[in-house]
């Protein structure tokens, strides 16, 4: 059964969602809705957060101990599940960020001659 039908340009580059979630949480605890909004707004809507991927990603991150969750109430007093970054998550974020920058630079080096 096909699970994703989002257009290619909105597709999240593989493996980056985790990193973006962690980055979002650097600013402080947030619930799923806020996280999705923050990523979309931060990318000026270039990146669309697919909820079908967000919740599994949150679950995975929590399971690995990079984020922790607690139930709280939202801005307009709705019960919501909040996530915060754990020290392990913070470390993981810097590891992933470094790695990402390396990859981007490498891809850039390959693409540049072609565009020149």
């Amino acid at each position: 059964m096909p699970r994703r039908e989002s257009p290619l340009q909105n597709e999240m580059p593989l493996g980056t969602l985790d990193m973006l979630v962690l980055q979002t949480l650097v600013l402080g605890p947030a619930h799923g809705h806020t996280i999705a909004h923050a990523i979309e707004r931060g990318s000026e809507d270039v990146l669309q957060v697919e909820h079908g991927s967000l919740y599994p990603a949150l679950h995975r991150l929590e399971d690995r101990g990079w984020i922790a969750s607690f139930w709280g109430s939202s801005e307009n007093n709705r019960k919501a599940k909040y996530y915060r970054l754990t020290p392990a998550g913070r470390k993981q974020l810097s590891v992933q960020t470094t790695r990402w920058e390396q990859v981007v630079r490498a891809i850039g080096r390959i693409l540049k001659p072609a565009t020149e």
């Binding site: 909820h51 079908g52 919740y55 599994p56 679950h59 399971d63 939202s74 019960k79 919501a80 599940k81």
Partner: protein
């Protein structure tokens, strides 16, 4: 980690649902704030979230252990399938429960008796000081080998390098007076080192110590001196003193002498097999100890790291030291014992305790395992039939995309489920079975009261259940999981004639079943023949149920004078004869098969010369006038003792027929001949020869016996000292033997002579006789039960297969009937089929039985493991039963209505 996730995922799923619900609400709120009506706002939010079930599923799958997940599903499915055919399930479960239960019960016995360590700290270090002495003929026959003498104990204990502690002990009885009625209690006398070797701390007070072993005064006779301390068993302490701590330090009158209670041993404490009421110090009198006196059991605790072989070598080194250190008095030479070729053969204590009961238990275990195989074969057959009926369902599943592995797994899950459920029921059966086993188990089965189901037994049951479950499912699984979709779907519902191929698995199972049944029935048959053979043996006494026995001991502290002891015993016999309905009375050092520690010594018949003065050892019994007559032992030649012989100390002796034949050729030739114990003691004249008596139990050949009078001159002391048998068994012949009123009259008669004489071992000769048969009876009953179970299961198996065949071939039968087949011929068709199966099984079974029953040799008596009668009768019975089992379904075949069957198509 992953298991934790697996178990927590249901909760996580609820958490996620809540979380997504909260998302929806927040998103809806925002949309409402943007001015959308609620319904549209909610719909938009839902659209944005996407399919929440898919999200939940994705997370759910992240936490799945695929195998476990599917296993749970398979189990649920199999439970549903089993619940759908309750009759099949009940039949299978019942069969399995009985099979597994019986195995679990017997395993518990084997585990408790043979496998578990003895209940002593570091029990693996404990050994029994067993010794062989092939040169001491007669004595070497005794299963217990050569016991230790006190001097041997001193040498071994003081000079060994292998043991942490070493001691000797002997079981006996003593009379306790001054508490309530005089009571005869079981005692164990221990030397220093026995309690120390066993290492079980006392429940109260202290152990007997070295100081208690120093005799305070020399006793009137014997090698043990006067000692004055005693330890109680836990049971005796509870019974007589209510478990009071203050009992320590009090005095107890034991054999009319006061002894100070110094300690109490804890509950369940045993010395090897003995469970004494009192533990007394042996207190050997060093000044009187001689080389001889081989009547004590040696026990020791090995030093860590010392092997049994090293310990044997150590003791072998000490044997010459022993011979040179001690003497038998006069100018005897200790090196004479080199003739006996004594060889230490130390055994682990556990082996000593268990004895040869291992043989019996393993036979029973093997038998029960075979029953399990038959039970499995039956259930497999049921499963095969079921799988056949379910072919459509299986084919459908295959058509829907289930792989072979998937179907195999679900079939196996079902059979394992059956196995495990059967096992759970089996535990219940096992508990009941254990109670039965303990009830019918031979009283002399060692460690009977330690039998219980422990963790190991439960583990065994679980493994057995799972393995048999897998085993059950394998054949149907591999037979029916294969890709036969089109064939199955096409022929489904049609009763087409079944190919031979499809019957092969069931036929093989039935043949195997019959073969195993054959083996079990042959074993049971052999045991029945053994029991028969035993019944025909003349034990040397008659009318056992009319012989009342009672054991009475007169300690020297009560009556010192030997002559007076005999007069008292004579008086007792007279009083007992006066009881109404008593035909005759006699007494002796022991009744046959009573298993008292035997007496034996050399016997030199006149005119016979033995090399090195080593005459064969003979069993000694001291008998009163009239004892052998009361017993019913036939007098072959000569006459019995008279009271005049006894009181006049006439040099008279009686011997058993076997001894008479061995030495003088015939019984009558022996009368008037003479024999003596030592080359320099006076001759004794043989006045009578009596029928052989199976003194050691019905299975043991009758020993050669010398019957001495109960009072005789002491051969060691020529000055006229007398030797009397103080502990004797009275045998009373009466029709009323064994009744309570009779036993009461016996008690009154004894107390009318002396009020402080306790009566012990009040039984009939029949009970003693049955006890000596206990192991055989136990094996017989167990094999009988197993054989009956196997036979029943086997017949059900044959019946099932024939019935099924008949139902499968209904169409063919219908055609045959329509074409004019005779009912008789049709019946014969199916009976012949059953006969062919059971014939093949019986032939294979006979072959296996001939091999396996060789292992039963030690429990058989008087017949060969390939007893022709058993090997003819059992197959005949089995075949007859098969005919019956296949006749019933065959009759149904013959009554098939062709019109109906053919129309049903």
């Amino acid at each position: 980690m992953s298991i934790r996730r697996f178990w927590r995922r249901a909760q996580w799923d609820r958490d996620r649902s809540d979380e997504m619900e909260s998302y929806l609400r927040i998103e809806t709120d925002e949309n409402v704030a943007r001015g959308l009506p609620y319904d549209e706002a909610r719909a938009a939010a839902l659209r944005k979230l996407g399919n929440s079930t898919v999200i939940r599923e994705e997370i759910y799958h992240m936490n799945t252990i695929a195998l476990l997940d599917e296993l749970v599903r398979d189990m649920r499915y199999s439970l549903r399938m089993l619940a759908r055919s309750p009759i099949f399930t009940a039949a299978a479960l019942l069969t399995l429960a009985i099979g597994i239960g019986a195995n679990a019960a017997v395993f518990s016995v084997v585990n408790s008796v043979l496998v578990r360590p003895l209940r002593y700290p570091k029990a693996e270090q404990l050994v029994a000081l067993h010794q062989d002495a092939p040169g001491a003929a007669g004595l070497a026959n005794a299963a217990d080998g050569l016991a230790l003498s006190p001097s041997m104990y001193f040498t071994y204990a003081e000079q060994n390098r292998s043991f942490q502690a070493l001691g000797v002990w002997t079981a006996g009885t003593a009379n306790v007076t001054g508490l309530a009625e005089p009571e005869q209690v079981r005692t164990v006398e221990v030397s220093d080192g026995v309690l120390q070797a066993l290492g079980v701390p006392p429940a109260a007070g202290r152990w007997l110590l070295a100081g208690d072993q120093i005799p305070e005064a020399s006793a009137a006779s014997g090698i043990s001196g006067r000692s004055s301390t005693v330890m109680l068993s836990y049971g005796y302490w509870q019974r007589h003193f209510g478990g009071e701590q203050s009992v320590i330090g009090r005095n107890l009158m034991v054999d009319s002498l006061p002894r100070r209670i110094v300690g109490v041993m804890p509950q369940g404490f045993r010395i090897v097999k003995a469970e004494p009421d009192l533990i007394l110090p042996l207190a050997f009198d060093r000044g009187r100890v001689i080389l001889a006196g081989f009547g004590f059991n040696g026990i020791a605790r090995l030093k860590p790291g010392v092997t049994i072989a090293q310990a044997n070598a150590d003791l072998a080194r000490l044997l010459p030291v022993w011979m040179d250190t001690w003497s038998n008095g006069g100018n005897t030479n200790g090196r004479w014992y080199e003739n006996w070729r004594i060889r230490p053969t130390i055994r682990p204590l556990k082996q000593q305790v268990i004895g040869n009961v291992g043989d019996v238990l393993w036979v029973v275990m093997a038998t029960i395992a075979l029953v399990m195989l038959i039970a499995c074969a039956n259930v497999t057959n049921l499963l095969l039939v079921r799988a056949e009926a379910r072919q459509r369902e299986l084919a459908l599943r295959a058509a829907l995309g289930a792989g072979v592995a998937r179907i195999v797994r679900s079939l196996l899950a079902e059979s394992v489920m059956l196995g495990v459920m059967g096992g759970a029921l089996g535990v219940v059966v096992a508990y009941a079975g254990l109670r039965l086993l303990v009830a019918i188990g031979p009283a002399n089965l060692p460690r009977l009261n330690e039998i219980s189901m422990d963790l190991r037994a439960f583990g065994f049951t679980l493994i057995l259940s799972v393995v048999s479950g897998l085993f059950l499912g394998l054949i149907p699984a591999f037979k029916y999981a294969g890709p036969q979709i089109s064939a199955a779907l096409q022929s489904a519902g049609r009763t087409a004639s079944v190919s031979r191929e499809r019957h092969r698995a069931r036929n093989v199972l039935v043949v195997a079943q019959v073969a195993i049944v054959m083996v079990l029935l042959v074993s049971a048959g052999l045991m029945i023949r053994t029991a028969q053979a035993l019944r025909t043996v003349e034990p040397g006494f008659t009318g056992a149920e009319h012989l009342q026995t009672v054991r009475i001991a007169i300690p020297s502290s009560l009556i010192a004078d030997p002559q007076l002891v005999t007069r008292t015993q004579n008086n007792l016999a007279d009083k007992l004869s006066a009881i109404p309905g008593v035909a005759s009375v006699g007494f002796a050092s022991e009744a046959p098969m009573e298993a008292e520690p035997p007496d034996w010594d050399n016997v030199f018949p006149e005119g016979k010369i033995y090399p090195g003065d080593v005459a064969p050892l003979r069993r000694f019994e001291n008998v009163s006038p009239g004892f052998l007559h009361t017993l019913g032992a036939r007098l072959i030649a000569g006459r019995e003792f008279t009271w005049t012989d006894v009181y006049d100390l006439r040099p008279a002796v009686m011997i058993s027929e076997k001894l008479a034949r061995e030495v003088w050729g015939t019984a009558s030739a022996a009368v008037g001949k003479r024999l003596r114990q030592y080359p320099n003691t006076p001759w004794q004249e043989v006045i009578g020869v009596v029928q052989d008596v199976r003194q050691n139990g019905i299975q043991e050949m009758a020993p050669t016996i010398v019957y001495w009078p109960v009072l005789m001159g002491n051969l060691f002391v020529p000055t006229g000292a007398l030797r009397v048998t103080r502990a004797v068994t009275f045998v009373i012949r009466s029709e009323r033997a064994g009744t309570e009123s009779f036993v009461n009259q016996v008690r009154q008669a004894v107390w009318s002579v002396n009020g402080s004489l306790p009566l012990a071992s009040v039984r009939t000769m029949r009970e003693i006789y049955e006890e000596s048969l206990a192991t055989t009876s136990f094996t017989l009953v167990m094999l009988g039960i197993a054989g009956a179970m196997a036979m029943m299961l086997g017949l059900v198996g044959i019946y099932g297969v024939i019935s099924y065949t008949v139902s499968q071939r209904k169409r063919e039968i219908g055609i045959r009937v329509a074409l004019g087949a005779e009912p008789g011929a049709l019946r014969w068709l199916f009976v012949r089929y059953g006969l062919a199966l059971s014939g093949a099984g019986a032939a294979i079974g006979l072959g296996i039985a001939a091999g396996l029953t060789q292992l039963m040799k030690s429990v058989l008596f008087g017949i060969s493991p390939v007893d022709p009668l058993t090997y003819t009768a059992v197959p005949l019975v089995l075949v007859a039963a098969t005919v019956l089992a296949s006749y019933l379904p065959a009759r149904r075949a013959a009554s098939v209505d062709p019109v109906e069957t053919l129309r049903a198509e």
